[in-house]
Symmetry: C2
Subunit: 368 residues, 2 copies
């Protein structure tokens, strides 16, 4: 029983589609691999774009070449022509289409695992595109450092910049607009000060204060290539409390120690455990109190590529051994509702020759 | 046979989820409606956010309340507790989850139609949030007008701004950063000059020129509310050719005439036809030549809300009658590979009392 492969999605919604087709679209279209043929079937509106930018080896078809715009008929015709009984599809394949195609007699088999396991192994070009996005994240972060250095500290310990209170929103705008000038899409940038930083997903809002840690998690996507960069730094303007300094040192130690543990064949869960153990050794404990979780309660890291979160996982659930060619984040953190959070995130590349290279090129420090 | 309703998605990927749950998340989670209960089931990382921002009437559960993080078991437990035999799901429900749940004995029925038909009828709050996003699009557009007015025209007819050539990229940055300051997410903004404007989806690149039309299609999304605005204006810096002036007048006539045809009960296809007929009457014809499509070859408009494209359609495929409460774009265009494109887009609200209100509040002109 020969199965082909099939995706119905927009390039914007599906990185598998972007990876397979070589381009991105706002509207969904068909990509298939069947017998010797890999192809995309395009509406008139997107045919030109597809011809200009399809990946090597991907044939661009019009809908008319398959009899018209009816997708069920197109896909059945593809199956007939190339002699496949059906298609393997990504796990997030739309159920409505699956039921229609099954109703037409095709086998439609969703994959449990990543649809293109090869996405985990980055090519040299991909590493360059990721690094280029990361450099823009660093440019955004440096802009934030500059803004924070320019602030004055008011009597009530709020930060003032150019005569007005500096808010999370304004600092985020300075970061995001810097990256946009570099051709990035930016959304979700975190600038969370003080206790807001104790919630890892809190974007941050309102006036920023001196002496409290400010978590800046910056993850732009290149508008042209679609690849992401991911960077977190945590800084204090003014004088950090002793507990904040100790937490910072512990997180930095955890990150650097974990990086040294990365090599092919080791499961991601073990790298996570290295970081968790270092934090425990520094006497920072993880658990759940009345105010919610505290300590280190998220995964250590994740793959980055055309998705901001992709395989492999560096977390307790990352049971698969790491493979050469992976690009992952290493981002331990400590979060306490009493004073806030510290997170420090680098990206590393496990190159096919076996060495581990830190891609991130921006300094670490707590106080500015 | 009682069915509940079920969504598994992130708020960022699924506007149905955002609409139902009342908040957005980067990671996917479960929303259900079964018997008397509407609820979401959250991981520890997102539980706090859900409690703070769930829609009225939506109960926030932890995974533990349903026995643990296994989603199949959670959903089966929900079905048992509320006495449903399965769930109706959106058409884009992930096939892998559907097969798992069907394997556990549940009926999983994908909807052909929009999952929440009520999304088409906007509440007063929704109209305000859409209008607020549209005002930001207008602010971005005015910024572009100002930049273009400040340009000088070089001898070779390129536009110079602050001493350097003005590119599509730079004009887009000025628009996008203006909107970002207003709390918008901006991506995909079109600034296409000259013949690039003859491809409706071409974002535009390179140096802009005098005398040629510049299509600016601006569609920001509010980072806080998730609602979109959508606006297109086309302008010329310098002296437009006669054909460009005539095309501009025809498109403006088509837009205003089509707006007058909008009322409850009329199918979207008829509104589209009104605009197409006006363009024909002005002697601008639609067809396909060697260089691709020309004339007016896209739909007249679409609903806007939590999705930038949603029901209803104003296009030849919009066979459903328009319903009170719809917010739609009206955006006729003319595209000719010889000289470029003209598109003029307003948003209108078909209010429940039966009147049609233009939401867009920015002037129309061709030359600046």
């Amino acid at each position: 029983m020969a199965l082909g492969q099939l995706i119905i999605a927009s390039g914007e919604a599906s990185s598998d589609m972007r990876y397979a087709a070589g381009f991105s679209t706002p509207d969904d279209f068909i990509w298939f691999s069947a017998g010797p043929c890999r192809g995309v079937v395009m509406s008139p509106l997107e045919y030109g774009r597809a011809c200009r930018s399809a990946a090597p080896g991907v044939k661009v078809f019009t809908e008319k070449e398959w009899g018209g715009p009816d997708r069920r008929e197109i896909i059945c015709a593809v199956a007939r022509k190339y002699g496949v009984t059906g298609f393997s599809v990504p796990g997030d394949f739309p159920l409505l289409w699956a039921d229609r195609l099954r109703g037409a007699g095709l086998v439609i088999r969703p994959e449990e695992a990543p649809f293109f396991p090869g996405r985990e192994k980055k090519s040299g070009d991909e590493v360059r595109m990721i690094t280029s996005a990361l450099r823009q994240a660093e440019a955004g972060c440096r802009r934030a450092f500059d803004v924070l250095r320019e602030t004055e500290i008011a009597r009530d310990r709020t930060l003032l910049w150019r005569g007005a209170p500096l808010t999370s929103e304004l600092l985020r705008f300075e970061i995001d607009s810097t990256m946009m000038k570099g051709g990035m899409l930016a959304s979700g940038t975190i600038c969370a000060g003080g206790v807001q930083g104790s919630q890892p997903h809190n974007q941050g809002s309102g006036v920023l204060h001196a002496d409290a840690p400010i978590v800046m998690d910056i993850f732009p996507r290149s508008a042209s290539t679609g690849y992401w960069g991911d960077l977190t730094r945590t800084v204090v303007r003014g004088k950090p409390a002793d507990i904040v300094k100790r937490a910072y040192d512990a997180v930095l130690d955890a990150r650097e120690t974990a990086k040294k543990g990365i090599r092919a064949g080791v499961p991601g869960s073990e790298i996570h455990k290295i970081a968790a153990d270092v934090l425990e050794k520094h006497n920072f404990h993880t658990g759940r109190g009345e105010a919610g979780d505290h300590g280190f309660f998220h995964g250590l890291g994740h793959g980055v590529g055309l998705d901001i979160h992709e395989s492999p996982r560096l977390s307790p659930r990352g049971t698969e051994p790491l493979r050469p060619g992976a690009v992952v984040t290493v981002e331990p953190g400590l979060y306490y509702p009493e004073w806030g959070g510290i997170r420090l995130e680098d990206m590393v590349y496990l190159d096919p020759a076996g060495s581990v290279r830190t891609l991130t090129g921006i300094e670490d420090f707590l106080v500015l």
